[in-house]
Amino acid sequence: MPNPLKLPMIPRALRNLVSKPATRRYPFEIRPRFAGARGTIEFDVETCNYCMLCARRCPAAAITVSREERTWAIEQLTCIACGVCVDVCSKHSLSMSVNSRAVHLRSEVGPQGQRPGHEEWHKPAPAATDIPAVAGVPAPAASQGA
């Protein structure tokens, strides 16, 4: 039978009384994400050649690509951040950012019924010189890297 007077946690508990807390004061003190952390997928519409390999290989079927309409879309809330699309992209249009996913409300449904977290890019035919138009809601520039 162990000695009931021996309480091994007591010195530790006393030390904890005067030491720094192990937790962070979260909303005021945020630990930056580690360099290799998997966050969200970032897309560069300029280099994409619409080969559709990313859409075919995505395990979560989060990516939809239309070669005819020249659109590339991702459901950020369906994406599991496995990084397969980044690996298979021969044009290096896709990259993994450390930023965690933005929070979306259920009411954020796009004009064509797009689900919350839907991001879409459209590149006009090669002859056009203007900047890529944004066909989806929310706009990629606003929602990415948030």
Partner: protein, 361 residues
Amino acid sequence: MRRTTIPFGPQHPVLPEPLVLDLILEDEKVIDAIPTIGYIHRGLEMMVERVEYTEMGFVVERICGICSFMHGMGYCVSLESIMNVEVPERAGWLRLIWAEISRIQSHLLWLGLGADAFGFENLFMHCWRMREQILDIFEKTTGGRIIHSVNRIGGVKRDISDSELAAILVQLQELGEAFKTTARVFGTDPSIAHRLGGVGVLSMEDARAVDAVGPMARASGIATDTRLIGANFYDRIELEPVTETAGDCLARVVVRLREIDQSIDIVRQAIEKMPKGEGLPLENKPRGNPNGEVFTRLEQPRGEVLYYVKANGTKNLERFRARTPTFANIPAMIKLVKGCDLADVPNIILTIDPCISCTER
């Protein structure tokens, strides 16, 4: 005497796992326990019929959030042996290191939950404090804290630089030293000894009879460890199974405490023995579709896991099955629960380290 049946779970304050158990009581004594399996069945094994084999690894990883790395590794090892793909040496060692770190993580999680269950909340916080730092190591090296997604069929996705490996080893050893004061509490505190000592004793014969696996069997004195079969580079590691002879709840706690030290030592040996250098090959891409069938065994934190994979030469596997360690330990748990007091049931159930998410898939 009149018998009472009380439900234990699926929601129970002591257990975050949705274990479903009907306890049949006579007064305060448990006469029988009837488990029901399938409350959170998700049909993940069935998904092989519509998910391609290359993508199935990400599904298998999500069987369980605590041993997700080992599940992903087990699936990839199975496919590699069907497709005759040889894993590059450094990739194999990296898998071993991640597997051992995930064992440390899982044991710390369990020790915390166990402490919480027998009412020692302070100890629970101390265990989870160290686990947080282990999860940070995972986030740095794999990119994810719980779901790692680094295993690919034929190797691993990411490398860890040699300097980072050395830093991880130093950090693990420091954490292990700091954890010794916490670990001593488990062994010496009188309230823990009173609550767990002599409770739920599983003798060596009984453990053999009900085919207990993992720490459950080792706490009863059976020196069984699937790592000893030597697959996945474990043959190059000096490894002695951690065993205790008492077979009670306290012995199962002590086995897991000692396994944390053992895993840190295995990581040290692996870092010493693995090939060093930058840019070493990490992945041998498989060609074609798999055809054949295979059984794979791995030692997960909870015990031996067994995967069965049958492929038919198409992109979709014909059959995938995982027999997880908690499933193998349920007969042992039922045996221990019979005849004990109702107040001891939570502790006995917790010391088998139940993972219902694994069990019901």
